[in-house]
Symmetry: D2
Subunit: 327 residues, 4 copies
């Protein structure tokens, strides 16, 4: 349920407006140096503040509760929490009346019989991705300190917003329309060895997509040419081998063959929907009086949640790779 | 690794040209009537024979080895095997020389140190999807006999081939070009209750995509509007609620909110690449002499593997839903 | 690794002299009322203070960090931590020189390459059982609120110390000898339905013993007559049925048949070794100079750790039963 | 449920009087030589025939269905089945009337709503331990071929029958009394490295006991001195270190400290109850007329099932160790 991974295993917990959000990381090898500075860069990349992001500001200071001793991982579970401070929970009383379209409010209330912490989306909030980033920092350190033969580099970036490859332009469109927008985020990984992934059910695509769809707002994923491959002939799509390390002339498969990494660059892209909490007025059901009414979503939200996803995508990718390498 | 599911749990085994391929299903409730006739329809839909499919013909007779007694499931593991008969393993000696582009040959050999059963793709062969179909038949029976309140209907179909929505035309293109082609397969599910899926890591999208990417040749998956959502404004994408059961005016989200089913029709699509074993001549590395040479893939193959995927897609969808309902 | 359970799933973390010890509970149903008072009784029973227990005193106040909202469980992970306050870590520098006989010091150092938090036994300390008690409190509440048809009662008590069934006398022996002593703890469960446990590998005995042996110092477990059964004839050991609910004339099997609960009282006993940290002088290896030398274990320790185990045993039993009932 | 292990993972299936019993082994490394001869010795040791064992005779020929190619493991699942031939199912119609005391008949019928395959105990039969032996043969080969630095030796033997350390005498007692008897089986392992097992929940004792209690008729387990330790003083029980490899003067702990192997000989013992199917007349409930009546269990049974357990115990021990070494 709230766990992911086989050996490098993470357990996530917390609610957007509760005391904390946090992550428990089991299976991290001992002897990895961990400093609080290690978290700064990726947490900063994820943090709000730029145009198109929410005005909620959290310190995002990772508090390491266990599993690190004298600056090194001990091999026992690493528990990290982030305190929630800048919460304005009163904004969310309204959602008891108007379950927000596109949000988990309605389904969460049905599933948990009304006992869910509904404030700020509770356990379903994008706030929890800060925990994924913390786990990703640890995972990246595992890759660089434990698997030093490989120089594994994971890079993710936003490649289009609202259909525009010029990202600034896409955001500007959203600001002008005073509406939220979607985007596409790409992730590439260099330096992977041949053979990561496990048949039959733990293909690299299976593991990455499983993790990716835990990130709120993701609607699709494609590897290599992805959906474009469905329109092609085999003779155009196939990647011909050019050497005995398995390098190929083209990389249409995005670095994966038969569900296993093939030694070429791993490439995948995800589709991120527009933030459900648009500032626009919406017509939806008022469940108190069972009538369709106009309302505006309160709270502070991102216009383009995709802006904040690249470090999250890198993190879950690092988690999957670290887990596979440890197996 | 070769297992999937939490309570309704399947374990797959076998190789394309070995004695058998098979599936072991744990966690099926007792008392579900099972007859060999139950398997006929879906296995027939998956079987080769039509234009664009391989000339390899297998009986595909499911042999139930355990877990069924006097016509009903017992509650203990159901073991089903399919004998492999129509194998022409000599076709595959060539791949020791030319690892087939787009296939698992090269990576499997690296991963398993040359001990893999390379004949017909071995454990990586599409042949194993016959086992998924058998598991899907059981899963569908669980849905119809154990969850009788819900009238859950799962339907999957090929919606485009080589970029053509007219499927016949797409296949004709492939036949004329004597080349393999890709396609897009859609799956829709009606009758699902609200709230299937589990935060944080077991969203419905996570579970379905995990299973989907175990099907060979799948390159992408999208839910609802999927990649199209990345180009939209939030006010256009949001699905407004129209009643207290959670029905929405539009269904852009494809029946999923916050990773949970929302009571509307579940819709997703997958991209299937062109069969790697195109009949066209290919230039690739001869690993015996380390030179790039022309060669033609031997063996019997589908021109459009996507043709045979709809029943497989229904099956893994049924497996995921049965597992979630049992939880 | 640090996780246990299939649906009611706990993850433990923390070190004896670190910031906290804690537990993360996933899979608890929503709507269970939880108050801090609920924890008092069982935590008190486990706490030190009586004759034969350590002088280390911790408040043992459970801090609920997530998963409880407005006094009820939400259905999302419940994270509970206990701060460590009364630590005297300087006592443990000695163990870098003399790995304590009977303790994890030596093996932990080998396994974790010297990076383990060795203070107070670190992650191997009996201190972590406070987390099991907290999880047990939640599990017991699940049993009483979620499975109200059953009146499940779990009771555990110390039945012998140092071979004496008069417990006071056994403790007195230890105090007089200024040496640590072992004991036997029994656990009985009334009100269980027929059929808990799952063949083949998840028998009730398998699940309970798996959990039991995570409690430090446990050396054996037996169900029903246990080891005494090995000396008997079948006609004496068999429990004859006396009614159609499955009640039996005798209960030599301790309420388990074929690995499943049979509706009679579940009974099992565990053997607890004497606390390894005896106050007696010991001769053991000084790893700094590779010589056998006499030394005395510093730190504050229980003379009879078995005294504090009954609430822990009830807790892990409640966890196992809650998990099985939820399946 | 019917699965065990984390990386070296086995899935068991089949019923005593069904077509087959079998095992599916996932996670076995590639390149291990496997011949059918490898199975002969251990299967023979388990087979019936001697005084005190059942007259049911099965060939016990392991049929390898997948995962072995050209005499070596491929790295994909190894599926092995044993056909059931010498079945006399008519013997078991009686148990529909008289659920056999000490057997799973009654609880299985309740749990599986009467759909269970009741013939010969079905899925609960000791017959399935033949599958464990097959898995153990593979596991032992993994130990000897994959971990060649360690010379791991696993040996198990019956050490008492009906309370007699002279085994012949114990069996003779049973034959003369025409009654079934219990026994104690010991298992010792030499050559284990320091540090196998994982805190907190996967101690070596937890894993071994979990597996052990899946063997029918086991009622208790103890490590090292076990229950005797509960009567001792700490200064007598502690094992003093004598060298820097962790060797100890005594081995009261049975080779385990803090849940991890400590490099000394691993020793544990299990209590096996008398076979429930005693040839003696028993008074128990006739569920057809709800009266207590005398009856005699039909079918062919062992007088002392403990006789056949040593190779089974070695097998599950090998499985646990192989799994831990692969992690």
């Amino acid at each position: 349920m709230n766990s992911f991974g086989r050996l490098f295993r993470v357990h996530i917990f917390g609610e957007s407006h509760g005391k904390v959000v946090g992550i428990n990381i089991d299976g991290c090898p001992p002897g990895i140096p961990i400093h609080s500075d290690d978290f700064v860069k990726d947490l900063d990349r994820r943090r709000a503040g730029d145009k198109g992001t929410t005005s909620r500001k959290e310190d995002d200071i990772p508090l390491i509760q266990s599993g690190v001793f004298n600056g090194f991982t001990t091999g026992t579970p690493i528990n990290i929490v982030f305190n929630n401070k800048d919460t304005q929970s009163q904004d969310y009383e309204e959602i008891r009346k108007f379950p927000r379209p596109g949000h988990a409010d309605f389904v969460a209330s049905k599933k948990f019989n009304g006992f869910e912490d509904y404030r700020g989306g509770g356990h379903f909030s994008g706030r929890l991705t800060v925990c994924l980033v913390a786990a990703g920092v640890i995972a990246k350190k595992v890759l660089s300190h434990h698997f030093i033969n490989h120089k594994i580099e994971i890079n993710s970036k936003l490649i289009s917003v609202a259909g525009n490859c010029d990202i600034e332009k896409g955001i500007q469109l959203a600001v002008e329309a005073n509406d939220s927008v979607g985007g596409i985020v790409e992730c590439v990984v260099d330096g992977l060895p041949v053979g990561l992934g496990e048949p039959f059910f733990d293909s690299v695509e299976s593991l990455l997509s499983h993790a990716v769809f835990s990130i709120p707002a993701v609607r699709g994923i494609e590897f290599g040419l992805g959906f474009a491959a469905a329109k092609m002939f085999g003779s155009d799509h196939n990647d011909a081998f050019i050497d005995s390390q398995g390098r190929t002339k083209t990389n249409n498969s995005g670095g994966i063959s038969g569900g296993l990494t093939n030694g070429n660059q791993l490439i995948y892209r995800i589709a991120v929907k527009p933030t459900s909490s648009t500032p626009q007025k919406q017509d939806s059901l008022n469940i108190k009086n069972d009538k369709i009414e106009s309302f505006i979503v309160k709270g502070r939200h991102d216009l383009c949640i995709a802006l904040r996803i690249p470090p999250v995508l890198e993190s879950i990718t690092a988690m999957v790779i670290a887990d596979q390498l440890l197996i």
